[in-house]
Amino acid sequence: MSATGAPAPRAERTDRQHVRRIGLIWLIACAVAMPVVYFVLGPHLPPGNDSYQAASQQQDNAVLAVIATPVMLFIWIYVGYAVKNWRIPADTPLEEIVDGPPIRGHRGFQITWIAVTTLTVLGLFVFATVEMAVDHGAGTGSGSSPIWTPVGFSSNLKDNKLLQVQVIGQQWRWTYRFPQYGGVETADLVLPAGQQVQFNVTSLDVIHSFWAVNLGVKADANPGVNNIAFVETQAIGPVDIRCAELCGTYHGAMAQTGQVVAHQDFDTWITAQLALHKDLIPQLPPYADYYIPQTDGGYYDPAQDPPPPVDSGLPPAPDASSSAGAPSPSPSSS
């Protein structure tokens, strides 16, 4: 494959020598960069380890960064090497250029490339799927009937052992309801540390996205939808809350700081909230998976639906039996 007739100022290296040199540079660069990325950069990658999910997202970030490192290094080193070694002056007159060797392909290289990229991609897919299953959706909003649920989850609210926090997005703030504490609605988010939490994210108007940055939680808040995300809190400290979906004028101002506190502090706080809002709680619409504002300013209450005709042949409406005040069951899961 040597360039026929090229003016050779020094002895041309063979293909094998080029491959060896590029490979050596690449291996050294990888040997330096990959541990740096994983062990030095990795522990500082977002979103930190304030929750179990956040920690595994951080781990995942680090793993992907380590896999990306050799790929990027290879392309950079190769192109740099090629430009340095095989460059001719850009203004070389055309008639003085001797064309390069007519290589149209290289079976081994092509097969290796395709095999490596395919295996990498499949590996990443398996890794992320396992991660998602183990972490109960990895902190993401998983819809109203999630398939990977933590122990203690039940689609029936009464049997559900997780701490229920309903996140209600509205233009332009978040409020939180705690159905296990009388359905009290608070303006701030306080969570106990070391607790499995189930966020039930919904919206009253447009699409928002609940992003608890350092807990690694992100779930879109859709009107008329209960979007469930699981997180297991670990460390005590502040929680940065943002809105991650454009929701109108003050989208940028939907930022808030919540708290993860010790269990007894959470109990103190929720008790204080119950006392503070005791006159308001009866006026709230009954706790439901979601609330549909009516044009008269009230909220849709399934209990007030007229009963279906007896012999209509249709199944009864799922919420028709639940009385006001009691938690309504989640939409039936598959």
Partner: protein, 645 residues
């Protein structure tokens, strides 16, 4: 300019009521920009009047406080008036009425043809080129306004609503108008030249696809005058349904652009399939043409879905259907799915033309055959096919059926395999090459560098656990700027520096070109690399307020963004200097020494491209082989390509 070509065009027969030149009818009777503007104004007035009349007794309209009928009909009928005024409707209407249409000025010469409904694909290409650069610069100014607001972590320059209008205008201008930034100028101009054809399959559709873009551009900009739109370029319902009249501008403009994409892409596809010169087999087709073919297919298959979405959303806003409105039984997921079903193929509408330019230019500036030609083609086709199966990764955290996520994750990660083929080809082509770092080659290598970062960051977004952090943050924003601005636009500039000599006979200044490249490359990376970090550290997109701790990074980014603006000024100066200010210099017929068929004709090419239809006898990338020139000219004047498999 070679004017000695005596081939009659297909449309020169028939009685000519509107002959060109001083002997023709008075200037106001000839369709052109002025009649177009008159038509648009008359149409807008008529539409607004009609809409006001329709809506006047409508309780819903009165309750809303804004009449979307009037605005929508004004825009739509105004566009029809614009097209009628520019002369787009004359031919089909006359045909429909059974008249023999007057000959259009297909062979019109002089500067005037660039301002008319001209059917020559080369004129359309130049029109597209100037228009796309203008749209790009306008969109860039909006970006600088966004970065100015983000100099401070609190509101300081624009009120929040106005800030969102600017964000929306920037995003929509870039993602919507720039879809044709390569297919429009280079696809239309070069595809017939590269396949050895004298014309496009549907010259009228081609001209239509261009003349819809100024309408879309003006409609989109005019949205600012009536309150702008708060939804960004994604137009999510129900925010879009409750927004004021500016949203109609977004929907109509996006719909017009979708129509432009459908006809423009369809035209390219039909042309490539049917108008190839004898001997231009599928394995000899230039890789740029392959990319145009696949892009055209994506456009004509994906854009109808967008058109549907815009139509449905306008229905929700005007006649109060409730397709996206939960309160009355609709679903916001419907818009998200429709939009991204278009939106993800669109991402590849923005990526594939760039791949095509990279694959086309690399052999020229390495003096080697394209490495793995078939693999590159397979990669492009594979990307095109897979792009229709990945859209739900935009909805990973949206709460739709989560069982789908592993599947979508797999398809999304799989698309990086065919995308990687372009790097495979680049690596192989650079091996033992004769690399000439000309300005186009610099842009190709810079584009590959940026696209690599864009592609790798895309893997983080395709992976659900890491997407939990990155989704909706500046990480996403930086990712697609790396692929589109860093990839697509770098390849666009590569194509511009490379083919402008073909299109105009003028070479862009080399020294200024190098300054343009290096400043753009450095400041682009210095702008967008920190944005990955900013996103991961918890800054969502489209916010006017952010954490104090991120201010230093944001200021760095803003200042770099201004310097990108300076770099673009260098480009604009270079472009104007080379094309308008400086006297033309005599240029080599084939300044880069390319084998491509587009260099087999005069520069700039004559009206009918080729005096004689070339017969293709070898591939376009046979550098260093014994193959002779790519094409030969036989004595026979073949109008119909034959013997093409």
């Amino acid at each position: 300019m070679a004017t000695d070509i005596a081939v009659a065009g297909p449309d020169t027969g028939g009685t000519s009521e509107l002959p060109a030149g001083p002997g023709g009818p008075s200037w106001w009777r000839r369709p052109g920009l002025l009649t177009g503007v008159v038509g648009a104004v008359v149409g807008y007035a008529a539409g607004t009047y009609l809409g006001t009349w329709l809506g006047q007794d409508n309780q819903q309209v009165q309750g809303m406080g804004h009449n979307d009928f009037a605005v929508t009909l004004g825009y739509v009928i105004g566009t029809v008036g614009w097209l009628a005024g520019i002369g787009a409707l004359a031919y089909p209407v006359q045909k429909m009425l059974g008249h023999q249409p007057a000959a259009q000025h297909e062979h019109e010469r002089g500067v005037g043809r660039y301002f008319r409904y001209t059917l020559d694909h080369k004129v359309v290409g130049v029109q597209y080129l100037v228009a796309m650069i203008s749209y790009f610069l306008v969109g860039g100014l909006f970006a600088l306004a966004v970065r100015t607001e983000l100099l401070s972590p609190t509101r300081h320059l624009f009120p929040p609503g106005q800030y969102l209008e600017i964000v929306g205008e920037h995003g929509t201008m870039m993602m919507m108008m720039m879809t044709s930034a390569i297919l429009g100028p280079f696809g239309n101009y070069l595809v017939p030249l590269m396949i050895g054809s004298r014309r496009m399959a549907f010259p009228r559709l081609e001209a239509l696809s261009f003349w819809l873009t100024p309408a879309a551009f003006l409609v989109l900009l005019s949205g600012l005058l009536i309150g702008g739109f708060p939804t960004g370029w994604t137009g999510y319902a129900p925010l879009s349904v409750e927004a004021t009249q500016g949203q109609d501008a977004y929907l109509v403009a996006f719909g017009l652009m979708a129509a432009s994409m459908i006809v423009g892409g369809f035209n390219i596809v039909v042309t490539v399939i049917n108008y190839r010169a004898p001997g231009m087999t599928w394995t000899r087709l230039p890789l740029f043409t392959w990319s145009m073919l696949v892009t055209g297919m994506l456009m004509s298959l994906a854009a109808p879905v967008l058109l549907l979405g815009c139509y449905l959303s306008l229905m929700d806003r005007t006649v109060q259907t409730a397709l996206f409105d939960v309160e009355h039984g609709g679903s916001p997921y419907l818009w998200e799915n429709i939009f991204w079903f278009f939106g993800h193929p669109e991402v590849y509408i923005l990526a594939l033309p760039g791949f095509g330019i990279a694959a086309e230019l690399l052999p020229v500036f390495t003096r080697k055959p394209a490495f793995g030609y078939r693999i590159v083609v397979a990669g492009m086709v594979g990307v095109g096919l897979l792009s229709f199966f990945v859209w739900q990764h935009h909805l990973f955290v949206s709460g739709i059926n989560s069982d789908m996520r592993p599947v979508v994750m797999l398809t999304t990660e799989m698309i990086s395999i065919p995308t990687g083929f372009i790097f495979l080809a680049a690596i192989g082509t650079l091996w033992r090459a004769r690399i000439r770092l000309t300005v186009p080659m610099l842009f190709v290598l810079g584009g590959l560098f940026n696209f690599l970062i864009g592609g790798i960051s895309g893997v983080f977004l395709s992976d659900v656990p890491t997407d939990a952090v990155a989704h909706g943050s500046f990480f996403v924003m930086s990712h697609f700027h790396y692929t589109i601005m860093g990839g697509y636009m770098f390849f666009f500039f590569a194509g511009l520096y490379y083919w402008l000599p073909k299109m105009t006979g003028r070479m862009l200044g080399k020294r200024l070109g190098q300054v343009h490249f290096w400043t753009l490359f450095v400041f682009f990376n210095s702008t967008f690399l920190p944005l990955f970090a900013i996103g991961e550290l918890g800054m969502p997109r489209r916010v006017f307020e952010y954490a104090d701790s991120l201010q230093v990074l944001n200021m760095w980014v803003s200042i770099s963004a201004y310097l990108i603006g300076v770099s673009m000024l260098v480009f604009v100066y270079n472009f104007l200097k080379s094309t308008v200010i400086d006297d033309p210099i005599t240029l080599a017929e084939n300044p880069w020494g390319s084998r491509g068929l587009e260099w087999f004709t005069s520069t700039p090419p004559a009206t009918e491209n080729f005096a004689r239809i070339p017969t293709v006898v070898s591939g376009p990338y046979e550098y260093g082989t014994a193959a002779g020139p790519m094409a030969v000219f036989t004595d026979e004047d073949l109008m119909q390509p034959e013997g093409v498999s």
